[in-house]
């Protein structure tokens, strides 16, 4: 019973801390009056909107998961740079060697957040855009043959699975 209460309270406290950090960065004043205003505003917004940010109760597992997601970001940025170089090559090539088509990819990812990460990663990585998601199937528009091969052999899915 007490543990449940602490877990629910954790969501509120985390939301408040995030909001208050944003307030401090964006206001730029660090005297008592402005910080007090920030605390009041953050508390009001927290009461109304905490359940949007953390719809599920927070456990140690979910905090670990955020840590694993931060470890995933460098790989994503590396992929974004590769994606851009590929698109630059395709755009500036005089004959434009593109072969666009829509392919479907099956996924075994279970929960929604992993799927969102997966879809956004597909959109950001080489020559592919997520067009639609229905249940376990992703409709993906790929720009050339080379770009779709990385998706079909499931590199991204493996990487996303490590954050689960």
């Amino acid at each position: 019973m007490i543990v449940d209460g602490i877990i629910i309270l954790m969501g509120y406290i985390l939301t408040f801390l995030i909001l208050f950090t944003f307030w401090c960065i964006f206001s730029g004043y660090f005297d008592a009056f402005h910080l007090l205003l920030g605390v009041i505003c953050s508390i009001i917004v927290t009461i109304f909107s905490s359940h949007y940010l953390f719809p599920e109760p927070i456990t140690i597992e979910s905090i670990k998961r955020i840590g694993r997601f931060i470890g995933y970001i460098p790989w994503l940025i590396y992929q974004i740079i590769i994606a851009n170089l590929q698109v630059v090559y395709l755009v500036l090539h005089p004959r434009m060697p593109i072969n666009p088509k829509i392919i479907t990819v099956e996924t075994t990812l279970k929960d929604d957040i992993s799927r969102v990460i997966m879809a956004n990663s597909i959109t950001l990585t080489p020559g592919t855009i997520t067009v639609d998601i229905k249940d376990n199937t992703f409709w993906v528009h790929s720009l050339s043959d080379a770009s779709s091969s990385g998706l079909i052999n499931g590199d991204i899915e493996q990487k996303v699975k490590t954050t689960e």
């Binding site: 698109v87 500036l92 879809a119 020559g127 067009v131 528009h141």
Partner: protein, 102 residues
């Protein structure tokens, strides 16, 4: 002209290059889906590089953090916008351009 200025100039120049390719892609590609590749990728990285270059050039740390927040917002929103427009386009029945048709 110290080393910080040169680094930020390199970043901004790189960002301009990606912006340029994005616009060339927007003009050259045959249909809406392929144009979206040019938008969703070149534009994101170009803006990212420009913003990071300006944040390096800037001297005040608080403003630099704010500038970097723009980069974070762009990284979060850009794939969502690309995906939403792609889905709307697909739902409205526009068929992708195929190589064989040309």
């Amino acid at each position: 002209m110290d080393i910080k200025d040169i680094i930020s100039m390199v970043f901004i120049g790189g960002g301009l290059f990606f912006f340029f390719t994005g616009v060339v892609g927007l003009l050259r590609f045959p249909d809406i889906y392929t144009r979206m590749h040019a938008l969703g990728k070149c534009d994101t990285l170009g803006l990212l590089l420009n913003v990071v270059g300006l944040a390096i050039y800037n001297s005040s740390s608080l403003t630099s953090i704010k500038i970097l927040f723009i980069a974070v917002f762009i990284l979060l929103t850009s794939p969502v916008v690309t995906h939403i427009i792609a889905k709307i386009t697909y739902d409205s029945g526009i068929k992708p351009w195929q190589k064989d048709n040309s």
